[in-house]
Subunit: 333 residues, 2 copies
């Protein structure tokens, strides 16, 4: 394909995450000098051409972002991250919202292509794989959050399975010995992968799952409350709750409060998404997993600019999620 | 100024809200045939030229939306409403985010003007009046949510004072006789105007305010909990809580639950914003006020298109907020 080394290869060679590699090569803050040197060395060794040096995409370029559904909570931070990475005023963002409608999405895409955008970020609001659009439109595309099912496309994904693993590892470390796993919508890929990751870790640690299974429902406080009550009835010794998102976790916390169970000494609760308005409002604050959505946007923008510069990096790039500890799993001071 | 009748004048003449007038003239749904006829008749009488008939702004136009801070919860629905009103693919939206930074905002504006956008929506994330940009940029501008302080500019505002009034009227109707008013940030115009509207109604109805004053703090559940506790200590007969937003109201509901007070029979609680993830998750569901943010976006888009067509409607246009009743103020079935 005549393309040079991918950013993923550089990150792997330097032993850092994709985000860190991207930050280091683009002179963004929060990267130590030593890490930056290591990444630059890896890039040179592998023949990776950093965008700044070679760009034929100058001030005045236009990229499109087509969101499948802006009303979801995930789209906006990703879009903001992309806007940030494209740089202040250097690139114009053409924004449109398909509102979950495939016909509308194609229409918007066609309009963007007619307007001669240099590239497009296709932003999913749900983590499930989506059909590729690349054969229909002759313009560089990067799929953000909802990866394309075609392996030749460039997609940026969240580390859903890892999310489940680190949540379970943290609960075990925090002392949980019998864990209820309360997942959201079982038709959502993120939910399935997170539950699988969590189950693996719990089984390896010999920590039984309440009811020997994942309780899957929906992403709501109501479901969190219902599932927590069912689990307590089934196994009064449950002492850890691993929840599919922060709303579910909040419902669980409410039930535990009503039952008079102290959190975290009697039971530990972990959410997912690190939705600040939720996670910081509960008592105690809610431990959660942050997907770094803005970083997904930034990495998508970087990959799109590289593709526009003639150096695409096809495949699935993953931004790793991270644990954020608050009082619901460990005594904080 | 050579301009024709404003949409506001048409709405007033037809005895309908600005949103309804805009919907009726643009053939959008949820307007009765009778209302549509009345609005069209008023428009003809006043010489208002509906955009569709006269537009020189054809398929292929480009408008910019510059958001002062996309991360706030209000910007996105307004932006989606504007995108919707501009119509599917008819207009391209150039999106940028100033992230609360005036320098960044000017920079973005200059970039948009250089790209020869046909008009720009300046989208505020806080309700306070903002400085006009119109003398600096020779392009039609409409200010959404944060109105311009210059009366010659075109701004779309929310009916903050009305929000306070209808919340207080509803609490009184629901049987409240001693009301605690818990406001958010007192430096926010919306907060000040809502509190004033609520106070007027309560005084007129001879319903005393707990502590004879508005308790102003911040827009958080923590503040809602703290204020509710302080109010109950000060006046154990308080039986209504009028809250500056849904997060505050949620904090109040938690305290009432802990105190064993039944809602709504012992005390009624009303929030503001109608933030669905909050308002539908509480027990009982939270009565709230909806600002119709998408409608603010739609009206802004309509006014911008009119300005681009040479028929600006300067002044402050107001989209009226609306009560959404749930179980926290009245028994629902």
């Amino acid at each position: 394909m005549g393309q040079d080394a991918s950013l993923t290869a550089v990150a792997a060679a330097a032993g850092v995450s994709l985000s860190t590699a991207s930050k280091a090569l683009n002179d963004r803050p929060r990267v130590s000098a030593a890490t930056r040197r290591r990444v630059v060395a890896a890039a040179e060794r592998l023949g990776y051409v950093p965008r700044q040096g070679a760009s034929r995409f100058k001030l005045g370029g236009t990229v499109g972002i087509i969101a499948s559904d802006l009303s979801g909570r995930f789209a906006l931070p990703i879009m903001m991250g992309a806007e940030d990475a494209f740089g202040l005023g250097a690139v114009s963002l053409l924004m449109c919202d398909a509102r979950g409608d495939t016909i509308r999405e194609r229409h918007h895409l066609r309009a963007l292509v007619e307007r001669k955008v240099d590239g497009i970020i296709v932003l999913g609001s749900v983590s499930n794989e989506r059909a590729s659009l690349s054969s229909m439109f002759d313009v560089p595309l990067v799929y953000a959050y909802a990866p394309s099912s075609a392996p030749g496309d460039t997609s940026v994904d969240s580390s859903h399975e890892r999310s489940g693993r680190i949540a379970a590892e943290h609960l075990v470390q925090a002392g949980a010995t019998r864990v209820g796993v309360i997942a959201g919508n079982p038709r959502v890929r993120a939910s399935v992968e997170r539950s699988a990751g969590a189950r693996d870790v719990l089984m390896a640690a010999d920590v039984p799952l309440v009811g020997s299974t994942v309780y899957a429902g929906e992403y709501s406080e109501q479901w969190g409350r219902a599932a927590a009550r069912a689990m307590i009835a089934r196994d009064p010794d449950v002492d850890g709750f691993l929840c599919g998102n922060d709303q579910i976790a909040r419902g669980v916390l409410e039930v535990l409060r009503e039952e008079g169970w102290d959190v975290p000494s009697r039971a530990r609760v972990i959410g997912h998404d690190n939705w600040i308005s939720m996670a910081e409002a509960t008592r105690p604050g809610l431990t959660s997993i942050d997907m770094h959505l803005e970083e997904i946007g930034r990495v998508s923008a970087d990959l799109l600019l590289r593709a526009i510069d003639g150096a695409p990096a096809p495949g699935r790039h993953t931004v790793e999620s991270q644990l954020v500890v608050r009082g619901s799993t460990m005594q904080t001071h």
